[in-house]
């Protein structure tokens, strides 16, 4: 195997694909998908949760005249009493109102007599955005109920504390960074996605595309070993994959840096040092992803067919990462033996601010690199067959 022809092929494929709009669009746009999604996610979540919690609670009340004391309490607690719609249940169901309070007839009578007095809260729990106002209204009513109950006990000479048999004290051990990391769980998914998608068009163009446009046969007539051919093409894919990886990570970094949303009291941060660790952990996957895509694309007959297969390919390794968003697992050494899965666990750890076990890092990098080299070998063998000419 000689270096010169590998270099010649590498340079040609990079130049050729830098002139290709499809490759450029794939390399430039798709890696930004993750950061863009995160911006979207934050703005939606931030809006529903933060703004609704800070605004005064607008509370339509039907039969406000029945409970002047309750109305006074609600207004003191920051609620704005509004006239209720004619049909409270229909208007809540239609989403015109988040919550409506109904004070039925007989409330005043029961209240004065010291019997449990019923009020009705009309809510629609299937509407996520309405949950904050509904919870606030319920909390206000509950605290009013507690307050009156305590006063009644005191009037009878009983310590209200007797009603509290158990007090729950919450000890929160999560650091601010680990709380943030649960949101950052989507990052490894998009890192893997970018590594695949960044070089996808170049790989299709240099394999299935080469055959489709009839340039494979003349190319194979040149005095170049098939191994040199495969390596030149594969090496040309790597800068595109690495560029996509860097682009995604910087995209996430900038998104989190400039995002002004304070999310549940915690400013989201992804330290630059963690970013570098994530990059280094992800790097060995570029070879594996490129070689795997090259093998698959070599079996296809056209650009379109290759695109169909390679389009869904990144979902497969990214699936475990996606599941971890919902059910995080603790990294174990055997998990490092699974290429791409080990990296996703390590990336998660790095972003949570935990120290990585050196053995985990070495095992996952070594296994992934070896798997990548095996795939490169398979690709060379594929290109040494006569059949490569016909697909």
């Amino acid at each position: 195997m000689r270096v010169e022809p590998i270099g010649v092929i590498f340079k040609k494929e990079v130049l050729d694909n830098l002139r290709d709009r499809r490759t450029l669009a794939g390399s430039l746009f798709y890696p930004l998908l993750g950061p863009l999604l995160m911006i979207l996610l934050f703005s939606v979540m931030g809006q529903t949760l933060s703004t609704k919690a800070e605004e005064p609670l607008a509370l339509p009340v039907l039969g406000a005249e029945q409970g002047p004391a309750l109305m006074q309490f609600l207004e003191q607690s920051g609620a704005e009493i509004e006239p209720a719609p004619d049909d409270p249940e229909a208007s809540v169901r239609a989403g015109e109102y988040d919550v409506v309070l109904i004070i039925p007839e007989g409330y005043e009578e029961d209240f004065r007599a010291g019997r449990p007095a019923t009020v009705r809260l009309v809510v629609d729990p299937s509407r996520q955005a309405a949950s904050v106002p509904a919870d606030r209204a319920r909390d206000l009513l509950a605290s009013y109920s507690r307050q009156i109950g305590s006063l009644r006990l005191l009037a009878r000479g009983v310590d209200p504390a007797i009603t509290e048999a158990v007090i729950i004290e919450r000890v929160d051990v999560s650091t601010s960074q680990s709380r943030t990391a649960s949101l950052l769980n989507i990052v490894p998914y998009f890192v893997v996605f970018s590594i695949f998608v960044g070089a996808m068009y170049l790989i299709i163009d240099t394999t299935a595309g080469e055959r489709e446009r009839g340039s494979l046969e003349p190319l194979l007539i040149n005095p170049v070993a098939r191994s040199e051919l495969v390596l030149g093409k594969l090496l040309a894919a790597l800068p595109f994959a690495i560029f996509a990886l860097l682009e995604t990570l910087l995209g996430f970094f900038i998104t989190l840096k400039v995002s002004p949303i304070e999310f549940v009291d915690v400013q989201l941060t992804l330290p630059f040092s963690a970013l570098i660790v994530v990059f280094l952990v992800a790097l060995p996957m570029t070879l594996l992803a490129s070689a795997l895509q090259m093998i698959i694309a070599t079996f296809t007959h056209s650009f379109k067919e290759a695109q169909n297969y390679l389009g869904v390919l990144p979902l497969v390794p990214a699936l475990p990462g996606l599941l971890m968003v919902f059910a995080p697992v603790k990294p174990k050494l055997w998990m490092m033996l699974i290429p791409t899965f080990g990296q996703q666990l390590l990336m998660n750890q790095a972003m949570r601010g935990e120290a990585l076990a050196p053995l985990d890092v070495i095992v996952s990098a070594a296994v992934t690199l070896i798997a990548g080299l095996v795939l490169v070998f398979v690709a060379i063998k594929l290109y040494e067959r006569e059949r490569v000419l016909f697909g």
């Binding site: 002139r19 290709d20 446009r213 340039s215 494979l216 003349p218 005095p223 170049v224 070993a225 000419l389």
Partner: protein, 245 residues
């Protein structure tokens, strides 16, 4: 000189070649003539080493295609059968030619000089620095020829080079082929067009159903078959009624 001896090759159940032997000597144009699907492309592919024969051997200047692949590929220039000629549409004509020159280990001033020479010979100054996307059939063919000849090969293989060309392009193609012969190169070209082969070739090899059915000079063929007209002679050797059925 290109030499093939008793080539046999099958693809699955299809016997593409059943023992093909012929020679394309230096300084001559050898035409490989046969109807569609007769097995013209397969022996050429074995010579330029993208296929391996089941039996028999192909040599170029005495070097075996199977064992000395790179030595053979350095001594041949090939125009494979292709409608598009397999150019890279996002590279200019010059870049397409330069890529193949570099793959042959050429570089620097020597390579650039050689490319200019070919551009001059094929009269392609106007298109030399344009991307090949949108080139006409004739323009693509010129680039493909320049690319095949960039390393100055002693043997030239052309697979159906005039298919789909207009009259002017066919004529300049013929000039190129004759020019190569006059330089003392061995030219082997395949065609299914009788008139073309008879007008150009010093020697004709007729192939049908994977076998050589006749070979020799055009005069030899006429004498052997007793037909004064070469087209009649052609039909006589491949067996009548083998056209469209």
């Amino acid at each position: 000189m290109i030499n093939v001896e008793n080539l046999q090759k099958s693809f699955g159940d299809v016997n593409a070649l059943r023992g093909v032997t012929f020679t394309a000597p230096d300084g001559q144009i050898t035409g490989l003539l046969g109807p569609n699907g007769a097995g013209k492309t397969t022996p050429l592919r074995i010579v330029y080493a993208v296929l391996r024969p089941d039996r028999g051997r192909a040599t170029v200047d005495g070097r075996d295609s199977t064992t000395a692949t790179h030595a053979v590929q350095q001594r041949i220039g090939v125009l494979p059968e292709s409608d598009s000629q397999g150019l890279y549409p996002r590279l200019t004509a010059r870049e397409n030619v330069r890529y193949y020159g570099r793959l042959h280990g050429l570089e620097g001033v020597g390579l650039e000089h050689r490319i200019d020479e070919l551009i001059e010979m094929l009269d392609m100054w106007e298109i030399a620095d344009r991307r090949t996307e949108g080139f006409s059939h004739g323009e693509r063919l010129k680039v493909a020829i320049a690319r095949a000849l960039v390393h100055g090969p002693q043997n030239v293989l052309l697979d159906e080079p005039t298919t789909g060309l207009d009259v002017m392009s066919t004529r300049s193609m013929r000039d190129v082929i004759c020019g190569l012969r006059d330089e003392g190169k061995a030219v082997l070209f395949s065609s299914h067009v009788m008139q073309e082969v008879s007008a150009l070739c010093d020697r004709i090899v007729v192939i049908a159903q994977g076998r050589i059915v006749a070979s020799g000079t055009p005069d030899d063929l006429r004498r052997k078959t007793g037909h004064a007209d070469l087209e009649d002679a052609f039909v006589a050797v491949i067996g009548s009624g083998r056209g469209l059925r």
